[in-house]
């Protein structure tokens, strides 16, 4: 058989291959390579783009405290979010294998992926609202909390803040300023409750009697007026208020006010006392957590992120799980392994490649997080919740218009992402082999 002519080969010619590759290459060059190179170039120039400033923009990233916070937040994100998402995905995947309505369950968990991150952000902005009547998170927390310790007494009630007021606040308790003598009823006027809140209360009355007595009442009248520090006919008494009689700092007796706000201690020896309304009367209702405050904002946003991505991780891991040889699991069970041992010694090691891919993909994803932070954090805590990607957009296009610094941030982000990208690509190559 004659040797094939040198130029003949199987398949299309390289020139034809190049022709078919050309569109992809052009698009890649226009949308990937050129922008990256230009961003690098731009990051070495100032805001106007005309002056070369060397590495000054990169210096600015690490010297500005606001930018350092974004880097700190990104570190928190990278450490916490991918791990949680992967672990939750693994748990869901393993558990859904064992239940009946697995598909329905998976569908529900995967559903958030169908919601855009922006919409998810809007949803969670509402979930995290402070007021329990608007925010679901706090509604749940306060309901649970109140089931164990309901609020009681009169939160918000307090004495007037001036020298003429007969009582003042000490360590949260209301204490009479002057000594109270037996036979001379004490007056403890309070304010701070709205006329509507006390509308159904009984009118306050002056106390009488030989013992240590007095009245605790709301010293305001609807529409203003009324004599300050005096019991007016339309003013309301505060019922059920705990009252303590003190002598030399020690509690001598405790009683409660009647419906008209009067109290009387029985069996106290005559003398001089101080009357105290302990703090327990004024315990403010538990109002839930400040999710959208500077402290909790990043964990709160990470929570929203997990809601979106846990389902995705679950589906990937479940696919890996179904590829695990059943024999290995069964052999382990026959050998007497507990389910926990099977999970730890067989399932997880066999799943390791998938878990790693999910984990690394999540790291890359988390480094670029933008929308959730932008939407969920209120303006006042954006600086506390800020991340590098959001800061990049802000300095480039919001307010300052410094695209030099913005480009430097984008290159910085690229450098952060690159090792993980390289890692993923190497893994894919190894898998192909």
């Amino acid at each position: 058989m004659a040797a094939l002519p040198k130029r003949q080969r199987l398949g299309p010619s390289p020139s034809l291959a190049w022709l078919f590759l050309a569109p992809a290459l052009v698009l890649l060059a226009a949308w990937m390579i050129y922008p990256v190179v230009y961003s690098l170039f731009r990051s070495l120039h100032d805001a106007t783009g005309n002056t070369f400033v060397g590495l000054a923009n990169y210096g600015a990233i690490f010297s500005d405290s606001a930018t350092l916070i974004t880097i700190r937040n990104n570190v928190i994100w990278v450490v916490v979010a991918p791990l949680l998402v992967t672990v939750l995905g693994l748990i869901f995947a393993v558990l859904t294998e064992r239940i009946r309505w697995a598909t329905a369950f998976k569908l529900v968990l995967f559903m958030p992926m169908a919601v855009s991150l922006l919409a998810a952000g809007v949803i969670f902005r509402l979930v995290y609202e402070q007021a329990p009547d608007r925010g679901v998170a706090n509604a749940i927390i306060t309901t649970v909390h109140d089931a164990f310790a309901g609020s009681q007494g009169y939160p918000g009630a307090r004495p007037r803040e001036n020298d003429a007021a007969p009582a003042s606040v000490e360590n949260g308790a209301v204490v009479t300023k002057q000594v109270v003598r037996t036979g001379q009823p004490a007056l403890i006027p309070l304010v701070g409750l709205s006329p509507d809140a006390v509308a159904g209360f009984a009118p306050a009355r002056p106390a009488s009697g030989d013992g240590l007595t007095g009245t605790v009442w709301i010293d305001t009248v609807r529409g203003g007026g009324g004599t300050v520090n005096q019991i007016d006919p339309e003013e309301k008494g505060l019922a059920g208020m705990t009252v303590e009689a003190l002598q030399g700092g020690a509690v001598k007796a405790t009683t409660e006010t009647a419906a008209d706000g009067t109290f009387a201690f029985t069996g106290l020896p005559p003398g001089d006392y101080q009357v105290r309304l302990p703090q327990s009367n004024f315990t403010a209702a538990f109002n839930g957590l400040t999710w959208l405050g500077p402290t909790l904002i990043t964990p709160a946003i990470i929570g929203a992120y997990i809601w979106v991505w846990a389902g995705f991780a679950m589906v990937l891991i479940a696919a890996g799980l179904s590829a695990i040889p059943r024999e290995a699991l069964e052999a382990a069970r026959i050998d007497g392994c507990t389910e926990w041992q099977v999970f730890r010694k067989i399932t997880v090691p066999l799943l390791a490649p998938v878990l790693l891919v999910v984990f690394v993909t999540m790291i890359i994803n988390v480094l670029k997080v933008f929308d959730l932070v932008f939407i969920i954090a209120p303006g006042s805590v954006q600086p506390d919740a800020n991340v590098v990607a959001l800061e990049m957009w802000r300095v480039s296009f919001g307010g300052g218009g410094d695209q030099g610094l913005g480009s430097a941030l984008s290159i910085f982000l690229l450098v952060l992402v690159l090792p993980f990208m390289a890692f993923n690509i190497r893994r894919f190559r190894r898998d192909e082999r």
Binding site: W31, T220, R222, G223, G224
Partner: protein, 437 residues
Amino acid sequence: MRRSAVLMIAALALTAACGGEAAAPTPSGSAPAPAAKPLAGTKIEIAAKWTGDEQASFEKVLAAFEAKTGAEVTYASTGEDTGAYLGPRIEGGNPPDVAILPQPGLVQQYAAQNALKPLSQGVLAQIDQNYTPYWKELGSAGGQVYGVLVKAAHKSLIWYRAPAFEDAGAAEATTWDDLIGKTAQTLADAGTPPFSLCGASGWTLTDLFENVYLSSAGPENYDKLAKHEIPWTDPSVTTALEKMAQIFGKPDFVLGGASGALQTDFPTCVTQVYGEKKAAMVIEADFVASSATQSGAVIGEDAKAMPFPKAGDTAPVVLGGDVGVAMKDNAGAMALLEFLASKEGGDIWAKEPGYLSPNRNVSPDNYPSELTKQLAQTIISAGEAVRYDMSDLAPSAFGGTDGKGEWKHLQDFLRNPSDIKGTQEKLEADAAKAFKE
């Protein structure tokens, strides 16, 4: 610059796919005739920050323009951060035909970038006819007129819920000390938190500061601070911040305390006063009327406003306003701006709630409420005696960006009102940076 922006956008893959979508076809060669404008088929895109009710009101004006000229106007909402919306579109060579800028500072900024088109003779004629020179000045950069003030905001007001005042026996205050010591204290004693602060919207805090500062430091200092000729560490700023701390520092005075206020944006703070009836007062401009009406309040009956009380020698009148500019030089854009600057357009807009016209020929009779009529009158008659919103005159990196500069530091001050000195130093540091550029 333009080139770089195209690339930035491509790099960020933000709007790469929408290039050219909104480009308005320029009508071929038809010079704008003053009387009938055959703009049938012309598409005009206008971008402004208004949403909700304000947007609905504005769209009625646009509808009138469409009916008159046959043009097709598309409204695009820029959201609160107008610079962030327009920036990429300008850089990408695809700006809207007309933009309404919330800050005169942006007129200067965009004029410097050559992003604005000088107004046509028709628009200039309307401006000369309807506006005092002061307003014309606000829309100019480098001697060239680029903008027309289409909407004014009266920012020296304190809105209150009349039934809450009646229940507590509180009265309007004419001095700051009365506001704190009497009005607010009486309300707090009666169990109603006096103030609902919109701390999540930084600009509401700058408005409060400007009123207190203009009143306590006087107009001359106000002008100097606005141009950064005196530093933010000046003792006059200390005084103003101390007065603000009289509110910020008392948990009884602020609905939800500082933490609650910082999560409350505008107009939620208005809803808290008039809808949920949780607080008694909200310190913001005339446009509160729109949100208050939506919350079910009747302006002039349960929703009333008092002039911002004097915190010093000056009764403050701080104004804000939105400036319309042309970003493309075409007949449609100019015709729309001419309409907005005209008495005709102003009259239509004035019938909507929450609108104040700086146009002196718009008859106050158009306004739907007695209050708006009075406010319009004060703006027109005050002329050059009023001061424009200071933060809106500053570079937007300092005076108009979420999470930066003045917004951020006043929010931090609300969180920690005892740190007056630290607040001033941070304000000065950011101001120095922003004004240098």
